[in-house]
Amino acid sequence: AQSVSQHNHHVILSEAASLELGCNYSYGGTVNLFWYVQYPGQHLQLLLKYFSGDPLVKGIKGFEAEFIKSKFSFNLRKPSVQWSDTAEYFCAVMKYSGGGADGLTFGKGTHLIIQP
């Protein structure tokens, strides 16, 4: 079974600091990769996704992620965080089976706190 590992469960940064959240997955086949964000009291929202093509993908709110196939990684980055980025961040992977209805496999999440 595939698994998703997020390296940091809790991260505390000051405003304007740079952010990198690690994500590794175990599945060796073709995958679709996602980062979702959950702001306090809200539901999951899609930050960005990778299906194919350019391994550097840009999402909403200045976030980007890089897919490195050889490392089975999909790390999330932001050059300068804001207080409003305080949230829970989830990496998720879906096997691409060309017709399957596979659900997402999620990492355990990273709780990000931005201090003003």
């Binding site: 998703v4 209805a101 659900g103 997402l104 990492g107 999440g109």
Partner: protein, 115 residues
Amino acid sequence: NAGVTQTPKFRILKIGQSMTLQCTQDMNHNYMYWYRQDPGMGLKLIYYSVGAGITDKGEVPNGYNVSRSTTEDFPLRLELAAPSQTSVYFCASRAGVGRGEETQYFGPGTRLLVL
């Protein structure tokens, strides 16, 4: 579009009671999913459906049942509630299987407490 909606937002159940968590989407998506989120854990797939009349088990289906009589609705049924089912439940939907249609859209969640 309202997207994916879930009711209720919060519910307290006694052990052994039953209830149905409702999920509706207005995007005409074929695929629908139920996940549960436990504290400090990622979401785990309970059941999914590829269209009306077709459902299948996910990673953690025990203690739950689903049905899909229409494209829009995908209710999740708990027959005999247990404390282990205390969790936040998320419903999600997705358009199809073509490349670029794999994005899942989530509802606001139902917080369930079983005492």
